[in-house]
């Protein structure tokens, strides 16, 4: 991390000390504040300790592998793809991916004519039920600030060059509406199984900052 000119907000980079944690295991201020809020609310019976434990398990169960499964299914099953584009949440639920919140999911298909990119300029809204938690860079200022006004420059920093003839659409997420990018199926994958296809789909491809991976041995 350089941080040379991008302000002194070390937002999500954890540059500030958590000295107590490393040295003695003694909890830091915010760790104790979290414990205090949680324990008080449990004592007051707003919810149970078990609910927190179960939600930690839910969070641990959500990884980009779920989104990759959705993408691979859409690549191989046109009817599913149509349902996915019509109602992202319902189609994911069909595959057994539960939505633990009230959010809707809009799936955006990349084509030869349109490249989609997702961002949350205000905070960090992200399709968590299908991708898990967002990476730190998605929540930090440079991506949030720049994605909406200079998406091609942002994409270039991820090594993605979008031809001028291809339209770039940026989608700003909200508390209630989340987006997922359906990348283009890579060439050279005819006859691949859903599992083989899913292995080519990364988190970043479903955010829209890179394409899906080419199969090994394919020419770029």
């Amino acid at each position: 991390m350089s941080g040379s000119h991008d302000h002194d907000h070390a937002h999500d980079h954890h540059t500030h000390p958590h000295a107590e944690v490393g040295a003695t295991g003694r909890p830091g201020y915010y760790d104790m504040l979290e414990t205090a809020v949680r324990e008080l609310l449990i004592e007051k019976k707003y919810f149970s300790a078990g609910e927190i434990r179960r939600q930690i398990e839910v969070l641990d169960s959500r990884t980009p592998a779920l989104g990759a499964k959705v993408v691979a299914k859409a690549w191989t099953d046109p009817d599913f793809k149509a349902r996915l584009l019509a109602n992202g949440r319902a189609a994911c639920e069909e595959l057994g991916i539960s939505f633990y919140d009230d959010t809707q999911l809009i799936v955006l298909e990349n084509t030869d004519a349109v490249h989609n990119l997702i961002v949350c300029t205000l905070c960090s809204c992200y399709p968590r039920p299908v991708l898990g938690l967002p990476p730190d860079w998605y929540k930090a200022k440079p991506y949030r600030a720049r994605a909406v006004t200079e998406p091609r420059a942002v994409l270039a920093e991820f090594g993605t060059i979008i031809p001028d003839a291809v339209e770039v659409r940026v989608h700003d997420s909200t508390a209630m509406v989340r987006y997922l990018v359906l990348p283009m199926r890579p060439k050279g994958t005819d006859g691949f199984t859903e599992e083989q296809l899913a292995a080519l789909v990364t988190r970043d491809a479903m955010i829209g900052v890179i394409p899906a991976n080419e199969p090994e041995g394919a020419r770029a």
């Binding site: 915010y30 504040l33 979290e34 949680r38 839910v58 969070l59 730190d136 920093e157 991820f158």
Partner: protein, 112 residues
Amino acid sequence: MTDTANLVTRLPNDIGGLPAGKIEQTDHVLEPWEKRCHALADVLDFHKIINTEEKRCGVEALGAEMVGKLSYYERWIVAFSNILFRKGILTPTEIALKMQEIEKRWDGHGGT
């Protein structure tokens, strides 16, 4: 616009389109308390105690200095505390006493 108008039209979270530096492709594995904080946020939402928009707004209400200096989940837990005070669900005194108890508990048991 006057030189203060941008303070009115741009709240701290509203950074879309502002100039900013290069994207550093950083990530980190959540610390245990950060993951608990995230689960707490979800459970607060399920019980309709604090929803996502209240959380976002609560972070914004921390003001630019705290938004700038606190880490992501630090902002969340401080915002939750403030919202819970405002809703009359918790008081600052209760939090202070509970944090003292947690410290004593840790000192007494070597932190388990």
